[in-house]
């Protein structure tokens, strides 16, 4: 909802101000405001962060979090393991229905829209991934997955360490799209941006009647020197409003005839595509998508939440790559989830909390196919898929090969095992 505009204001426009570009004006205001604030009136320490102009990103990683713990065995089906069928008499997917079936795995039939990516070798699935030690609490597992720094009590996410690897920092380097609450992976000392929508990145009151730019000037004064998270949010916002304009200048219509399905995931991916096309330096984009917590109603191929959500997921991702056009050449999507689900189905056509899961990789640098080491399922009441690949090994391949980061910095104390699903080309 946006506010209707005020009636006409009274001050005459000031030629010097309007001659300056808005960006130039705000940079001047920021520096001048800070100096005035500290020396003249208040004497508090300067806590302004001076942001450099954003640089274009040569590679972009999109982290798609499938919230609620998706059932990886429904997405990437281990049809070669007979226990999969005996443990799930009602909800297992028949082998004959699977897409791109090899001797052991096949994809959920609703993933048809992704077949062009798969067939061109730009989509991979890594199975039996996850945290080394089972953790079946959504909330603490999510925290553990997204901090990715076991043993440390500092609340700093792996993506925050990633974007803080070089100075100067810029809040548009990592952007959460679709929700304004940042994921734990982005939490930390390096500021990042979140968007509910592209158009929401604006300063109310800085409109055509504010000819003397009183609004940004007074807000800079109000929030300069304010310590704590709100002060940081305010200054991040002022910078983002200014530097995000190239994204707002791009067309809101999806590119290349892309057609997204309805839903929040599509809206987020479309906003992500626009952000990438606007090229304001975002190298990390995070999107939360859920709820994949299928204790009940996961269902079959004919009904239920899994088939509907998988269909939406596949169509939205396919549209995203179409929408990107030539920019797709630098974009890699990776999916994560807090844990996988139980092997055996429950009374409600659903699955309770389990352990191992599947991760999907799509786009630039991906070497297509199935990856992962399988431990045979047992099918007892509390059997889980065993984790054989630490999820950090998969993420490490993306951040080192695509973004040129050091795995040791992003995943402290962890030595990644080669997975082989990502190239640096």
């Amino acid at each position: 909802m946006t506010a209707p505009h005020a009636r006409s204001g009274h001050p005459a426009s000031c030629a010097e101000f309007t001659a300056l570009s808005r960006r130039g004006f705000l940079r001047t205001a920021a520096l001048g405001g800070a100096a005035l604030t500290t020396s003249a009136a208040f004497g508090t320490a300067v806590v302004e962060t001076s942001y450099a102009a954003p640089r274009p990103a040569s590679s972009v990683m999109v982290v798609l979090s499938m919230r609620g713990a998706v059932d990886g065995m429904s997405l990437v089906v281990p049809h070669g393991d007979p226990t999969y069928y005996t443990a799930r008499p009602r909800i297992a997917i028949p082998a004959s229905q699977l897409l791109v079936r090899d001797g052991f795995f096949g994809l959920h039939p609703a993933m048809t829209p992704l077949l062009p990516l798969w067939n061109s070798g730009r989509m991979a699935a890594v199975h039996a991934t996850g945290l080394a030690v089972p953790n079946r609490s959504h909330f603490s597992a999510m925290e553990a997955v997204e901090d990715a720094d076991p043993g440390s009590s500092a609340r700093v996410g792996w993506l925050n360490r990633l974007i803080g690897r070089e100075t100067p920092v810029h809040p548009l380097r990592a952007v959460q799209v679709g929700a304004t609450v940042p994921p734990a992976s982005l939490v930390g000392p390096v500021p990042s941006m979140a968007l509910s929508s592209i158009d929401a990145v604006r300063l109310a009151g800085h409109d055509k009647w504010d000819t003397q730019h009183r609004r940004p000037g007074s807000m800079r004064t109000m929030w300069s020197g304010v310590a704590g998270p709100l002060g940081t949010a305010a200054r991040t916002a002022f910078t983002a409003v200014d530097d995000f304009r190239p994204v707002q200048a791009t067309s809101a219509a999806p590119g290349n005839g892309a057609s997204y399905p309805k839903g929040d995931l599509s809206a987020a991916l479309a906003a992500a595509a626009r952000t990438i096309r606007g090229d304001v330096g975002a190298e990390v984009i995070t999107i939360d998508h859920g709820d994949w917590d299928h204790h009940s109603g996961l269902g079959t191929l004919a009904w239920g939440s899994m088939q509907a959500m998988t269909k939406e997921l596949a169509a939205a991702l396919a549209a995203f790559f179409t929408d990107l056009g030539p920019a797709a050449a630098k974009v890699t999507v990776v999916t994560i989830s807090e844990f996988g689900r139980r092997t055996r189905e429950n009374a409600s056509f659903g699955l309770d909390h389990g352990h191992g899961n599947a991760m999907l990789l799509l786009g630039a640098g991906v070497k297509g196919g199935y990856y992962g080491t399988w431990t045979p399922l047992r099918g007892t009441s509390d059997d889980d898929l065993a984790v054989t690949t630490d999820y950090r090994s998969v993420l490490a391949e993306v951040v080192t090969r695509r973004l040129g980061a050091s795995a040791a910095r992003v995943f402290p104390g962890f030595s990644p095992e080669p997975v082989g699903a990502v190239t640096s080309l």
Binding site: A41, P182, G205, G217, S218, G228, G290, H295
Partner: protein, 483 residues
């Protein structure tokens, strides 16, 4: 108010009010004075029971708030009112209460427990039971945690939300059994997977005939009988009626030291600081156990603690708190909604634009109450947008009474104009309960172009055209956006 310098409370009182009310108003200030200080006002709030005229009246603004599940389902099926709207109407009623109910402490505590025993408003089957669920929690919000726990866990809203309504002895659904331990009582790390399984078995039997008749029943045939053990609770659980076992189990959990710590931390996080000191949590947990899970003694201990006194302005207002406090600060009166665009309805979209509608948090852990979730750049910009729009009285506009720009001036028959700096101080006292400091004066000058000694009368261009640009300064401040 025509006083040039309206009286403001002490910083300590303002701090306590910022935590135990939904925001300063001059009326609240007068209530405190009349009661004889914050302490006595707080006592009166606790003694007031749960009924008040505004709550009674506003409950009739939306049919769905008082309708039975059967009626709500019929209305959904006949496309009179889809489930999401029943949820939305309950959310709206709650927001209206937070703005206008005189029982501010009860509303604050109701919100806290509705987040602790969170049932997401998502326009699903829980919508049929959601208003009753909230009412039951509100009635017990200042009582004993043991009663709250039993009410929440056995309520059909919770049963439908966390799948207990379809759990059976043969293949128990573990969702509620697990979250009961992790989120509502002892917390992660205190229990094993075997505990989760028995927790789920104890809770079998509380059924709802979902997506059919929605009839609520206790079904002895679905109850898993046989000895159970969860943590240090054991029970023969030999009867097909598992309800007495459930009661014993929940009473046991409510009195568990880990639960005491969980509850103490929740209260301290809401009312003191984002990461409350361990010593404070320990002390409050001790009070909780010593008073057999009664909540009020814990609140009193919290209010008396040095940690509370040291925590002024340390919390960031959540989106809903910001919106509600903005209505209160601007003195906007909302009345019975007549249209979708009526303020009492549109307020929900306002909250959404800031990033969070009441009870719409998508996970069972309830709304986060830490700055890291809400002190974000987009939330900041969205708050400024909502403040600006309301300071101008542009939206929401229908069935709401805004003050006129001129009414903000402290004028009398003798005093036909005020100096700009005096006006800024007057507005600061009225809108935020405190005098204007030098920085605020400077920001107000910058925002309006007015000089300190400029005389402001009814016909001044500021009042005629730009009063919203001055009013929003107070709401766009760290003071208004914190609590």
């Amino acid at each position: 108010m025509t006083a040039l310098k309206p009286a403001v409370p002490s910083a300590a009182t303002l701090h306590a009010l910022s935590r135990f009310s939904y925001g300063w108003t001059p009326t609240l200030g007068r209530e405190i004075t009349k009661a004889g200080g914050f302490g006595r006002w707080f006592d009166a709030q606790l003694a007031a029971g749960s009924d008040d005229a505004f709550t009674r009246t506003s409950a009739t603004w939306w049919t769905s708030v008082n309708a039975s599940p059967a009626v709500l389902w019929r209305r959904h099926e006949s496309e009179v009112e889809p489930l999401w709207q029943a949820d939305a109407n309950y959310q709206r009623w709650v927001l209206a209460r937070r703005i206008h109910s005189p029982l501010q402490v009860r509303e604050v505590m109701t919100e806290l427990w509705e987040h602790h025993f969170h049932v997401t408003s998502e326009g699903s089957g829980t919508a049929l039971f959601r208003a009753d669920y909230g009412r039951q929690i509100r009635a017990r919000a200042l009582g004993r945690f043991a009663d709250l726990l039993h009410t929440a866990i056995t309520h059909p809203a919770m049963g439908v939300y966390l799948d207990n309504a379809s759990s059976t002895a043969k293949a128990p659904n573990e969702n509620l059994g697990r979250e009961l331990l992790e989120l509502h009582t002892v917390g992660v790390g205190a229990y094993t997977e075997a505990d989760v399984k028995d927790s789920a078995r104890i809770l079998t039997g509380y059924r709802v005939d979902t997506w059919n008749t929605w009839k609520v029943s206790y079904d002895r045939d679905s109850h898993a009988v046989g000895r159970v053990r969860v943590l240090d609770f054991t029970d023969a659980n030999s009867s097909t009626d598992g309800r007495p076992t459930t009661r014993r189990y929940l009473d046991h959990l409510a009195r568990h030291p880990r639960t005491a710590e969980m509850v103490a931390r929740k209260l301290a996080t809401r009312f003191v600081v984002d990461a409350p000191p361990a010593a404070l949590v320990r002390r409050l947990a001790g009070v909780y156990l010593a008073h057999d899970t009664a909540i009020v003694p814990v609140l009193r201990a919290l209010l008396a603690s040095p940690e509370f006194k040291a925590a002024r302005g340390k919390k960031v207002r959540t989106p809903t708190d910001d919106v509600v406090a903005t209505y209160r600060a601007l003195g906007v009166r909302i009345t019975r909604p007549r249209h979708d665009e009526s303020a009492a309805n549109a307020i929900l979209w306002q909250c959404g634009s800031l990033g969070s509608q009441p009870f719409a948090w998508p996970r069972p852990d309830g709304l986060p109450d830490q700055a890291s979730a809400w002190a974000t750049a987009p939330r900041f910009l969205a708050s400024l947008d909502a403040h600006y729009s309301m300071c101008g009285g542009w939206w929401p506009k229908k069935n709401a009474t805004y003050r006129t720009p001129a009414s903000w001036l402290p004028l009398t028959a003798k005093r036909r104009s005020v100096r700009f700096d005096q006006l800024v101080d007057h507005l600061s006292r009225t809108l935020t309960g405190r005098p204007a400091g030098r920085k605020l004066q400077r920001v107000a000058r910058q925002a309006t172009g007015c000089r300190p000694a400029e005389r402001i009368s009814r016909t001044h261009p500021l009042v005629k055209w730009n009063m919203h640009r001055l009013l929003t300064v107070f709401l766009d401040s760290p003071t208004h956006m914190s609590r």
